[in-house]
């Protein structure tokens, strides 16, 4: 698939012909009868898995099957926070792998994903949180993840609109990751889709997987709304729908699907050029390039597949953020939306073989998997190609049976 490269020269060239000459960014193929590998779910994680299967292992007879549109799941619904300041070693390894791949993703994919390592603060607003984050800083230093603890005056310097005085939730300092930040979520999905297509893979949209066929405990293929497709290996990378696909394949997962919402304000002039997370009050915020304040909160409490959350959660999120950011009280909120996140018991993901041979799962990223997309794809591709990967070893679905949790619930608070 010879796709033309994007560059400043391409823009000049196309300007000469009134921008009539741009070709489709990726093709719209029909499914073939059989592929070596089929990936279900064209979110960031599915697409990145396919990309690294091709790039690192030369496996390009691959289809990525999507029931809706590219990145229409959580990948296109998240608040795009990227960081790697987790507590446990296996988490630090995969999240930092991802963060470092984000640094060069635009060049690697020839697609501008607008990675903006603008700096990220996780506020300490209680003594308990301060101690927790200092512990994370020490852990990060040992893991080689660059973070440091900063005092309230430095927080105020980095975030002039913040109120550090409280009274209810004073800002006592922050866990600071200078190379954390944001990226453009759709572009990540689009960039990978384009790169996968360029390697000859089929990205098939508007095609729902309705069944998984196996024989003697080994995967044979899938049934879809565009017909049956055979495959040697199958990757289930469907976030909030993981339990549904697992049920089709004949096993259950330690996953529950919950709604998580986000909202944006009216666009205003630049006022905050870092990302701030305030986990005690369950809110986090950044300013988009358009000027909107992008705000997220915690998940709803009950199982839900509707991609709609409860309004009182939105209210709570904004209400609690107002003490720390008083200027928010003057802003109109423009839009709110929800995604269905796949929560595990220890708030860590699952990248794993399954009881069905040839079927692999990549899920459980819950409220915080956007930041992990390239690292997850890298690791998942290795797992699918080789049968094992140093990055996925600890993230097996069987860790819950063995009690080998990777507990990020305490350290992460709201894990975005």
């Amino acid at each position: 698939m010879g796709l033309k490269r994007y560059s400043v020269f391409a823009i000049v060239r196309e300007a000469m012909s009134y921008h009539q000459g741009w070709e489709r960014a990726w093709p719209w193929p029909k499914p073939k009868r059989k592929y070596d590998v089929v990936i279900v779910g064209a979110g960031g994680h599915g697409l990145a898995t396919a990309y690294y299967l091709g790039k690192n292992f030369g496996i390009t007879n691959v289809a990525i099957i999507e029931k809706g549109w590219l990145g229409g799941g959580n990948t296109g619904r998240n608040t795009t926070i990227i960081r790697s300041n987790y507590l446990q070693d296996p988490s630090a390894a995969i999240y930092e792998k991802a963060r470092s791949l984000y640094e060069t993703m635009s060049q690697d994919l020839n697609y501008n994903v607008m990675f903006s390592p603008r700096g990220l603060l996780m506020l300490g607003q209680t003594e308990h949180e301060v101690r927790g984050y200092k512990r994370t800083v020490y852990a990060n230093n040992l893991q080689g993840v660059e973070t440091r603890w900063i005092e309230p005056d430095e927080v105020k310097k980095l975030v002039p609109i913040i109120n550090i005085a409280g009274p209810r939730y004073p800002v006592l300092g922050a866990l600071y990751q200078a190379r954390g930040g944001t990226a453009r979520h759709d572009a990540v999905a689009w960039g990978y889709a384009r790169a996968c297509s360029a390697m000859g893979m089929d990205v098939i949209q508007q095609c729902e997987v309705t069944g998984v066929r196996s024989e003697g405990g080994r995967v044979k293929g899938i049934d879809t709304t565009k017909g049956a497709i055979d495959c040697d290996k199958l990757g289930l990378v469907v976030a909030g729908n993981s339990s549904v696909l697992a049920e089709m394949a004949g096993f259950r997962l330690p996953i529950e699907s919950l709604a998580l919402q986000a909202l944006v304000s009216e666009p205003i002039k630049p006022c905050m050029d870092v990302v701030v997370m305030a986990n005690t009050v369950h809110g986090y915020m950044s300013q988009s390039d358009k000027g909107e304040m992008v705000i997220g909160g915690g998940t709803d409490g009950f199982n839900n597949y509707t991609q709609r959350g409860s309004f009182h959660h939105i209210e709570e999120t904004v209400r609690s953020l107002i003490e720390t950011f008083p200027m928010l009280s003057r802003l109109k909120m423009l839009r709110q939306w929800g995604g269905i996140v796949d929560m595990t018991g220890d708030r860590s993901p699952i990248l794993s073989k399954t009881p069905v041979e040839g079927v692999f799962v990549n899920c459980g990223w819950g409220t915080g998997g956007f930041k992990a997309i390239p690292g997850s794809g890298w690791a998942m591709a290795e797992l699918m190609a080789r049968g094992h990967s140093p990055l996925t070893e600890e993230f097996s679905m069987y860790r819950f049976r063995e009690g080998k949790f990777i507990d990020e619930s305490v350290a992460a608070g709201v894990a975005h």
Partner: protein, 107 residues
């Protein structure tokens, strides 16, 4: 906004008055059980897209736990019943079956 009727005090409680408690009718395994059994009780969930039986607590009301049948794909509520029930009441199951003919049953 989700509204559930508390089967004890009869109050039609809205979500902010309630706490969700996850999947209902799980078998509680005790000491001496296998690792698989503990795993199934503590972590593995059906998490269906459709009919779901779950535990709720009337936290800011009578404080008691009760059970509810709800559709996770539409947010339709089929009914609520006391937490002491071993399985969903027969008439509730019949009602759900009438509305969801392809429903595979509550297990």
């Amino acid at each position: 906004m989700l509204t559930l009727e508390c089967p004890y005090c009869g109050v039609k409680a809205e979500e902010t008055e309630l706490t969700a408690g996850g999947e209902a009718h799980l078998k509680r395994y005790g000491p001496g059980s296998s690792d698989e059994d503990f795993e199934s009780y503590l972590f593995v969930r059906k998490n269906p897209k459709g009919v779901h039986f779950e535990r709720w607590r009337h936290a800011y009301g009578c404080g008691k736990w009760f059970l509810a049948a709800r559709c996770t794909a539409t947010l339709e509520v089929f009914g609520t019943y006391p937490a002491q029930s071993k399985e969903p009441p027969a008439e509730l199951q019949a009602k759900i079956r009438a509305k969801r003919p392809n429903w595979e049953g509550y297990r």
